[in-house]
């Protein structure tokens, strides 16, 4: 079905027992070492927006444990 291809958004099931990607056997094999090497580093300060278009900084995300997942429509 069409929504099976929303692999960017697989973590919607983040707190369910298994991921959509894993269920469908589509967990990508390509790895990005430049991602995992970021552990221990400070989140860079970058200007982004909320979904309403209001500017905010990534430093506004400090203050609690925060989960970030990159995604898109395709």
């Amino acid at each position: 079905m069409w929504y099976k291809s929303l692999i960017c958004l697989t973590w919607v099931l983040v707190l369910s027992t298994t991921s959509f990607a894993q269920q469908s056997g589509r967990q990508p094999s390509v790895q990005f070492p430049q991602v995992t090497q970021l552990v221990g580093k400070q989140l860079p300060e970058i200007k982004i927006l909320n979904s309403g278009g209001k500017p905010l900084s990534t430093s506004d995300l400090h203050g609690q444990h925060t989960v970030l997942v990159f995604g898109c429509l395709t």
Partner: protein, 294 residues
């Protein structure tokens, strides 16, 4: 979701499309259009998790490794304490359990009650056969020039690896309707036409092109062209690729689903420089001609 009760915040970060053309979606040209993508993602996914939006320079994605579906856990001081190349819910649950304690029982997919909705309906597709694409094509930088009207039709440009290595190869230009702007081709009017000016040192097989005449009154197929391209490195050194721009002007007629029909003339500057944020197309490449130049 259940970790919200343990003071964990969750955000999706909306970034450039990983696989443009899937379900008809194309890369947005403006921030406003990217925010439309965010709204569309919320609508189609049905999740209550908040979305944030990367800027149009894609700085956040690039700063965090440039992966399409990476996942991070940040501590309250802003330090990255977990990073995965791909979204990994099971691993994330384990990480969060270690940080703030386990949630028992875990939320099930059914409990999330997601109301996922289909992508927008398009006009007829499959009307025009698509070009057989050479292997190893790579997206290059496309710069839409200022326009009073939205870019209802968006250009994607790619070149073959042969061109970059040998100075001779293919230039793909594809004009794709943006499904979020609610338009379709008006085939009762003349078909799309374009012309390209090339800088010194670049020679193109055809500087003008016209899309096929389509008998169906309206459709949503891309208008695509493959053009031979030759590069003379004595005149145009590779180091100057970022300065040498092809200038493309396109004329087309489109109709909005609300009823209006208009002609459009829009311009692009194209650079022979790989665009690392353009994504890769997966669903293209059925055999057939589908293009003609004049």
């Amino acid at each position: 979701m259940d970790y919200r009760s343990k003071d964990v915040a969750f955000y999706y970060i909306y970034k450039a499309l990983a696989h443009p053309e899937h379900n008809g979606y194309v890369q947005p040209f403006t921030l406003q259009e990217r925010l439309m993508h965010v709204a569309e993602a919320k609508r189609t996914l049905g999740s209550s998790i908040e979305w944030l939006c990367d800027n149009m320079q894609n700085e956040f994605k690039q700063a965090l490794g440039g992966a399409p579906n990476s996942q991070f856990v940040i501590d309250p001081e802003g330090k990255i304490i977990s990073a995965s190349s791909w979204s990994n819910p099971a691993g994330l649950r384990e990480t969060l359990a270690g940080l703030v304690g386990e949630v028992i029982p875990p939320t099930t997919i059914e409990e999330l009650g997601l109301k996922q909705l289909p992508p927008p309906r398009l006009a007829a597709t499959g009307v025009i056969a698509r070009p057989q694409m050479p292997s190893s094509m790579r997206a290059i930088v496309v710069k839409p020039q200022p326009s009073l009207e939205p870019y209802y039709v968006k250009l994607r440009a790619e070149v073959g690896s042969g061109f970059m290595q040998e100075g001779l190869g293919w230039l793909y230009i594809g004009f794709h309707l943006d499904p979020l702007l609610g338009v379709h081709w008006n085939n009762l009017a003349p078909p799309l036409e374009f012309n390209i000016e090339t800088p010194e040192g670049l020679c193109i097989a055809s500087s003008r092109g016209m899309a096929p005449v389509v008998k169906t009154e309206a459709d949503a197929d891309p208008r695509e062209f493959l053009l031979g391209l030759e590069w003379d490195s004595k005149i145009l050194p590779r180091t100057d690729f970022n300065k040498a721009e092809l200038i493309l002007e396109v004329n087309y007629y489109a109709c909005h689903d609300n009823g209006w029909c208009k002609p459009f003339k829009q311009r692009y500057h194209i650079q022979l420089v790989p665009d690392r944020n353009a994504g890769s197309v997966r669903s293209r490449g059925r055999s057939g001609g589908g293009f003609r130049n004049r």
